[in-house]
């Protein structure tokens, strides 16, 4: 009898439990995302600010690229050229020092304020004076906090004049102005939110230029306005009805922060998101086989390489540098490890950039590598350490390289580490081998040419620390050639100059270039005209429609 009482009690409990579960599960069935909204699942935890003067990360570049407009934009049909943004036309003076931009008439910011040359000039002044990470893209033209109001100036309502310090290649200057740091911000709106600052040794100016406010707010004129951003959670964009160009078909674009590839895939399959942006090769394959889903991709300006520290005497031998380029199994890596997320590229300029050299002379050739090592007096091989951050695909590539190198008698010891940890070691030049990735700072060949084939001062305490410096590759000649290409005003000759630099790097550099990154996205079939651009800030969502 006692037992039956307990039984009754238990039954009640289980019934209660079942009821709770039922209530919890009794949610409405899920419809697709709203017809006027594009919902994307994307890891957006690298967004730390929405201020164009400070933002230098990947995901915010896309938000700013859609939310703001620049003087000129990258022509996505021919990425070696630029096309007008808010500028209708531009001209360069004879001496190559003065750039005059005529603005398109009648442009308004999302706020309704008119966009004038004054706003452009103030945006330059703001970025230069705040002097955050991306500011060098503008200050490399000789702009400083002291001279910027003179050098970047509004002559009248719709004429903006930029004066640079050297007669650079015009393509270089214009390419740099497509960067998000050149975005035009609404002077009136931002000034209303600027905070007064007391001038001191640390603060040269009596205002913060709206820095505190613009970090999480929006003051642009692009096809979309950024309505809301909650870090690591969500970013919401709305159509800007004041936009002068083709207005977006959709009312809203919502980015949801989802980090896990498998989770993104589930949400895409269920229809809770329209686009998934961080799909692993495995999930991507499943998505491409699903009849309701489609994929799209675009090569991006990020390249992956293995580099040899020239402070290591063995690795500094030219034969060893060359031998390493024969010890990478490019075919195997391309068909497995980076399938769908990258394509083999042996030159350091990304495909699509002005002057990019498309050449891939190297193949896995152990015999050839052995011959080279023998010539260097290293017949019996040698041992080196290899700093590898513990994520894919670099770990896989490093392990593949370890195996092929062993065939030539080189014993590679992999030291796995956290990304920031290996990077700290690399930046201090304490590595032997390092596997790195390099994204272009701005869409111009000078960005990577400066990184890979320029090293003005190889001393430990140098002020300019390029990738060549990090590997102690002392190259006064190539540094000069890089500089010359920067000042070459004829685009054709300039492109030739960069091709020559890449050829030189291909033959002699301590960089074993492996692949160029491809960005991929999975999407629902009813999403049309969704295209990824050549750079993050050209991942335009304006043309997207939904059926």
């Amino acid at each position: 009898m006692m037992m039956s009482k307990i039984n009754a009690h238990a039954r009640l409990l289980f019934a209660g439990a079942a009821l709770t579960a039922l209530v919890a599960a009794n949610a409405p069935a899920y419809a697709a995302t709203p017809a006027d909204t594009l919902v994307l699942a994307w890891a957006i935890d690298d967004t730390i600010t929405l201020d164009p003067a400070e933002s230098f990360e990947l995901s915010p570049a896309e938000f700013l690229g859609n939310g703001y407009d620049m003087l000129v934009r990258l022509d996505i049909n021919d990425t070696t050229k630029v096309t007008g943004g808010v500028a209708e036309s531009w001209s360069v003076s004879e001496d190559g020092l003065t750039y005059t931009f005529k603005l398109k008439p009648g442009i308004k910011f999302a706020s309704g304020n008119p966009l004038t040359a004054e706003d452009v000039a103030w945006s330059f002044e703001r970025a230069v004076k705040l002097d955050k990470s991306p500011a060098f893209i503008l200050t490399q033209f000789g702009l400083t906090g002291d001279n910027v109001t003179e050098k970047a100036k509004a002559v009248d309502e719709d004429t903006f004049v930029l004066t640079v310090d050297k007669s650079y290649a015009p393509s270089f200057v214009l390419n740099c102005l497509t960067a998000t740091v050149g975005a035009v911000v609404d002077k009136k709106l931002v000034s209303e939110h600027a905070e007064a600052v007391t001038v001191s040794a640390d603060n040269k100016y009596d205002t913060d230029f709206g820095y505190a406010w613009l970090k999480t707010n929006y003051a642009g004129s692009g096809p979309f306005k950024i309505r809301d951003w909650r870090a690591n959670e969500i970013l919401v964009m709305e159509r800007n009805d004041n936009y002068y160009g083709n207005k977006p078909a959709l009312n809203r674009v919502i980015y949801r922060h989802v980090k896990e590839s498998a989770t993104q895939r589930l949400m895409l399959e269920t229809g809770d998101v329209d686009v998934a942006r961080n799909l692993d090769p495995g999930d991507l394959e499943a998505v491409s086989k699903n009849a309701d889903l489609a994929t799209t991709d675009a090569a991006k300006g990020t390249v992956y390489y293995i580099s040899l520290n020239q402070k290591n005497e063995t690795l500094a031998k030219p034969e060893v540098r060359e031998a390493f380029k024969y010890l990478v199994d490019y075919d195997a890596i391309g068909s497995t490890l980076i399938k769908g997320i990258g394509e083999i590229r042996q030159t350091y300029q990304a495909k699509g950039v002005l002057g990019a050299l498309d050449a891939s002379p190297y193949k896995l050739d152990v015999t050839k590598a052995k011959e080279l090592l023998e010539k260097a007096g290293l017949k019996d091989g040698f041992s080196v350490t290899f700093d590898v951050r513990n994520n894919q695909p670099v770990t896989g590539i490093a392990e593949a390289f370890q195996q092929t190198a062993a065939q030539a008698g080189i014993k590679v010891e992999i030291i796995p580490g956290d990304g920031k940890q290996t990077l700290t070691k690399y930046r201090a030049r304490n590595h032997d081998l390092y596997i790195g990735q390099w994204g272009m700072d701005y869409w111009d060949p000078n960005s990577n040419a400066e990184a890979f084939t320029s090293n003005p001062d190889n001393a430990d305490e140098a002020s300019v620390k390029t990738l060549a410096w990090r590997n102690a590759w002392d190259i006064p000649e190539l540094t000069k050639e890089s500089k010359a290409a920067l000042l070459e005003r004829d685009d054709k000759k300039r492109a030739e100059g960069y091709k020559k630099l890449q050829q030189e790097a291909l033959d002699t550099s301590p960089f074993v270039m492996i692949f160029q990154q491809i960005e991929v996205a999975g999407m629902r079939n009813n999403v049309k005209n969704y295209k990824l651009g050549p750079s993050m800030d050209t991942n335009f969502v304006g043309p997207v429609t939904k059926e």
Binding site: A27, V258, T263, K420
Partner: protein, 354 residues
């Protein structure tokens, strides 16, 4: 009369003195714990072979920006000076700014912690409400089929990786059956109508009387909270069972049975009441563990909580956020310990007498 009034206050005074003493002792323990926590986290943060400036400005920043930032953040000062400054600031509740979000760390934690608390509280409630009766029944039916089932449930709960179980649950209940909401705390559809006030979404929707949002939030909470609830259930039921077995073999149970009390009364009133004392600690610790933020659950369910925040910060060498988060978790542990101590006093008359 006078004799009585002289003897009466003495024990009370003694008791008051012992209370002050134990309070003081407790305070000392808390302060030492905090200082230790601050020191350990601070020095670990500084000795790891990661350049903290790199985390702030990124790999692409030019050398002058790197140097200026190093100066601004005070990394050029000697380590001891840095520590003193850090402790001074921490005492006034300033843990610096997070590198990743650029917000003050406390602002960030105020934003992410409610998400974790909401999940952890529901999880613990589910775990305790189901786990205790299950444990009691398993103890009463020791060796019976119910005991075996509870054992199996517990074993699975212990040994199956939560990551895998979470994905599986998503696959079945969200992707296939569509019974529950998917990852995240709420559907994007509500982005325009629902505004977080307190950060506890359930509470917010009740305040705003937005019942459709309330239902949606529940449907998003269901899977992760049931999952966490299952894991704490596994733990709580096993512990309840062993505590109950211990109590049921005591002499007072035999005495109660001899008195002819009903078995139900003996189990639920007498035995469970005594087992409740250590159980409080078990539940409190399991709750504190969940409050720490269940990283894997939060990752799988894209739940913007504390666990995800700290892990993310750790991976990006965002030491301010890690330190601040650690202090908050430490405080939670200390607070919950204190609370369970107080509950002890309520439940166990013997601790009150001392």
């Amino acid at each position: 009369m006078s004799v009585v009034s002289d003897t009466q206050p003495a024990p009370r005074r003694r008791r008051a003195r012992s209370l002050v003493k134990s309070l003081l002792g407790f305070l000392v323990v808390v302060i030492v714990t905090y200082l230790g926590l601050l020191a350990v986290t601070f020095f670990i943060g500084r000795v790891i072979p990661i350049d903290p400036v790199l985390a702030v400005v990124g790999d692409r920043a030019p050398a002058n920006v790197v140097e200026r930032t190093r100066q601004e953040l005070g990394f050029n000062e000697p380590l001891t000076t840095q520590f003193v400054i850090y402790v001074q600031k921490a005492l006034s509740g300033d843990f610096g700014r997070s590198v990743l979000t650029t917000n003050p760390v406390m602002t960030d934690i105020k934003r992410v912690f409610p998400a974790t608390i909401e999940l952890a509280t529901l999880g613990t409630l589910i775990g305790a409400i189901l786990g205790i009766p299950l444990g009691v029944l398993a103890a009463v039916r020791r060796g019976g089929w119910l005991d075996q089932i509870v054992r199996i449930i517990g074993l699975i709960g212990y040994s199956v990786p939560i990551f895998w179980l979470g994905l599986l649950a998503l696959l079945i209940f969200y992707a296939r059956l569509q019974w529950v909401g998917g990852p995240g705390r709420i559907d994007v559809v509500y982005e325009y109508t629902f505004t977080p006030i307190t950060g506890f979404y359930l509470l917010d929707s009740i305040i705003q009387r937005d019942w459709s949002a309330f239902g949606n939030i529940i449907s998003h909470l269901a899977l992760p909270s049931l999952l966490l609830g299952y894991f704490s259930l596994a733990y709580i039921s096993r512990m309840t069972r062993s505590f109950m077995l211990n109590e049921l073999s005591q002499e007072y149970i035999v005495a109660a049975r001899a008195k002819g009390l009903s078995e139900r009364r003996i189990i639920w009133r007498h035995a469970l009441r005594n087992a409740a004392v250590p159980l409080v600690t078990v539940i409190a610790l399991s709750y504190a563990g969940l409050l720490e933020g269940s990283v894997l659950t939060e990752t799988v369910f894209a739940w913007p909580g504390l666990g995800l925040y700290i892990t993310n910060s750790l991976q990006n060498a965002d030491m301010n956020a890690v330190l601040g988060g650690t202090i908050v978790i430490g405080s939670v542990f200390i607070a919950i310990n204190l609370l369970s101590d107080l509950l002890y006093r309520l439940l166990d008359p013997r601790t009150r007498a001392r």
